[in-house]
């Protein structure tokens, strides 16, 4: 795909007018706040913002000396990895099956698509409700099976709960994209592989899966960003970062430190770190998009 148009319209002012709304909105609500976040990361303020002091890189220093912050990095990594890997593999499995069956594919699709519409915060509530230690249906069922469910104290249970809710919510989205990706793989390639003697299993791993890689990579990035940011509502509703800080992912910590602990400088510094991570991810994604194989 060419990056430029051959023919362009000639006008001195029109493009500016067309760009103006977007420019105003991202200027006022993106670049200005982002620069403020940068400034604040170099400041120390009291809760009510009545006193401000420049502290240079102190906030960052404090951040990286804080074992809790580093632990939050680890938590985020574990959480994102689990969400992305589980979410992608489950939806890939489902999409592959749906792509196979031909009959009923649309029915399955319609049934599988629902959770996409559920807000993360509500997903958190739903799963919390199912796993609530005394009244939840699932925890009750587990209890009957002799399994003591307690995400209030057991960090593994808590992590399982938020991961399950996050994955559940994201499956639909992944599923749709995988299905579209699968359907765009030319049949003749699979036929050629069949003639070459490859079993269905082999065909999947040597042909389908590699050919899906652009979709998979796109989804991987989307899922990581989702796990990083959009799951805030789930965590807040289901565990509030607990037990201890075992499910406090970075964005939850930004929120907690900034809005509950009123440590604005620290929170802003965390925002800056997060921005860095996301920009890095974006650049990687863009590089890949640019180089992306157009089959």
């Amino acid at each position: 795909m060419s990056q430029e148009k051959r023919v362009v319209f000639r006008s001195g002012w029109l493009p500016w007018v067309l760009l103006a709304p977007q420019a105003v909105v991202i200027g006022a609500f993106f670049f200005w706040p982002a620069s403020q976040a940068l400034l604040q990361s170099l400041q120390q303020q009291d809760a009510f913002g009545l006193a401000v002091e420049w502290v240079g890189l102190d906030n960052f220093r404090r951040l990286f000396e804080d074992a809790g912050y580093l632990a939050s990095f680890r938590t985020t990594a574990v959480f994102s990895l689990l969400v992305a890997v589980l979410g992608l593999s489950i939806s890939l499995l489902l999409a592959t099956m749906a792509n196979r069956v031909v009959r009923g594919a649309t029915v399955y699709r319609t049934l599988l698509i629902w959770p996409y519409a559920v807000a993360p915060a509500i997903a958190g509530v739903l799963w919390l409700f199912m796993f609530a230690p005394s009244i939840g249906v699932v925890s009750y069922g587990l209890d009957r099976l002799g399994f003591q469910w307690n995400h209030l104290l057991n960090p593994n249970h808590a992590m399982t709960l938020v991961v399950a809710a996050a994955v559940w919510k994201q499956i639909s989205y992944n599923f749709l994209f995988f299905l579209a990706g699968l359907q765009s793989i030319p049949r003749s390639l699979l036929e050629a592989a069949a003639i070459d003697g490859a079993s269905p299993w082999k065909r999947f791993w040597t042909i389908t899966f590699p050919l899906l890689s652009p979709t998979s990579f796109f989804l991987l990035v989307i899922n990581v960003v989702y796990a990083f940011f959009d799951t805030f509502g789930i965590i807040d509703a289901a565990t509030q970062g607990g037990p201890g800080k075992d499910t406090a992912i970075l964005v939850y910590k930004v929120y907690y430190d900034g809005f509950k602990a009123m440590d604005l400088g620290g929170s802003a510094a965390q925002s800056v770190v997060l921005m860095g991570i996301v920009i890095l991810l974006t650049v990687i994604q863009f590089r890949f998009v640019e180089r992306k194989i157009h089959y």
């Binding site: 030319p186 003749s188 390639l189 036929e191 050629a192 592989a193 069949a194 003639i195 070459d196 003697g197 490859a198 082999k202 040597t206 042909i207 590699p210 050919l211 890689s213 194989i293 157009h294 089959y295």
Partner: protein, 382 residues
């Protein structure tokens, strides 16, 4: 290498009320090492037939045998065939080498053996320097050759080709055609080749299967198909421009079409309603005759010229036999194939071409006339 037998092969998509029969019982015996081309218009079932041989479509009825073994229930992988697809179906994420090696790897050949086989195929196809490229870095012609390479390395009993040339541009098509032919000569493997292009069919085939609407209309050498088409369909499908097919009545030694009556150079095989065929290149214009309005000859036929197209080495002359009263003032674009006595003439050379409005006198050599039954379209012989 192996022979292929099609015995009353039937295919229908769907079941019961929604059944859509697309192949209506095809019988053909393809010899070991033979190069057979299946040709026919779009949608006539060529690909379906080929894919049944490949095992990619279930066979609804009849039997297919490869090398004497009935393969109706054999998986494609186990039929010992190789197939070249229209869009090549190269694995886009594998290098040329990997593409060719894939089938061998799956069959668990030793790495050295794979290397040897791929190298050999690459040498034959002059792909040696491209082995590390990905398909997208190749031109159309090169991709086509990789697709063939992938088929060759497998050393199969049968080669199947589904319109492998139609994605190439005209020049490359001609060249690749020659290559495929050379290759077949070299390897001697039984080959089944699908195309809708009759020129391709004529140049490549040892024998041609002409298909129409799920039926096999003729199975013969190019020579036979060209010189003795079995049906009007074959007659009009093979050869370009198409054979002139004139519908009329044989009355004694004359052929009557509406107001026009032509004197036949020899007796027709029978009297009554018939279709008479004559190829554009077989009608001989009587040299002195351009512009003349009187018949120079008792069996000469008058062609009223409407339009002449120059094709470099030759010309196509479009007109009406016996002269059609209103035809001349219609624009050429609106000539329709169903015009009863429209006639196309192909003449070589570029000197003294006839002009629109002229009458050209034609001689039809008796041996070049083809006769078909007016209702069944079947060839009628003496």
């Amino acid at each position: 290498m192996a022979s292929i037998s099609l015995r009353n092969v039937v295919k229908q998509y769907g079941h019961g009320a929604k059944a859509n029969p697309v192949i209506h019982g095809v019988n053909a015996e393809i010899q070991d090492g033979e190069f057979v081309v299946i040709v026919g218009p779009s949608g006539c079932g060529k690909s379906t037939l080929l894919r049944m041989v490949a095992g990619l479509e279930e066979i609804s009825g009849g039997e297919i045998a490869i090398g004497g073994r009935v393969v109706n229930d054999v998986e494609p992988a186990d039929r010992d065939i190789a197939m070249v697809f229209q869009n090549y179906a190269l694995y886009p994420h594998m290098s040329v080498f990997e593409n060719m090696a894939y089938g061998l790897k799956i069959r668990k050949l030793r790495a050295e053996d794979i290397q040897t086989r791929v190298d050999k195929a690459a040498r034959i196809l002059e792909l040696g320097h491209l082995l590390q490229r990905k398909p997208r870095e190749l031109s159309g012609g090169q991709r086509q050759r990789v697709a063939m390479g992938r088929a060759i390395v497998r050393d199969p009993q049968v080669f199947l080709f589904d319109e492998p040339l139609s994605n190439l541009d005209a020049k490359l098509r001609v060249q690749t055609r020659l290559e495929i032919q050379g290759l077949h000569r070299e390897l001697g493997v039984t080959a089944l080749f699908v195309t809708h292009d009759q020129v391709e069919a004529m140049t490549l085939a040892q024998r041609i299967i002409v298909m129409n609407a799920g039926r096999m209309e003729q199975f013969g050498t190019p020579e036979e198909v060209y010189s003795r088409p079995a049906t009007t369909f074959v007659a009009s499908f093979i050869g370009s421009p198409a054979m002139n097919l004139l519908r009329g009545r044989v009355e004694g030694d004359r052929f009557v079409m509406g107001h026009t009556s032509l004197h036949l150079p020899a007796p027709a095989p029978r009297q009554g309603e018939l279709v008479m065929g004559l190829r554009p290149e077989h009608a001989v214009p009587l040299t002195g005759g351009a512009g003349q309005s009187e018949s120079p000859h008792s069996t000469a036929w008058p062609l009223r010229v409407e339009f002449v197209e120059m094709l470099g080495a030759e010309r196509l002359v479009y007109g009406h036999l016996g002269g059609a009263p209103h035809a001349a003032d219609r624009p050429a674009g609106h000539r329709s194939a169903s015009d009863p006595n429209a006639f196309t003439l192909r003449i070589a050379g570029i000197d003294h071409p006839p002009h629109p409005g002229d009458t050209v006198w034609l001689q039809a050599p008796a041996v070049r006339l083809h006769w078909f039954d007016a209702t069944s379209g079947q060839r009628v012989e003496e």
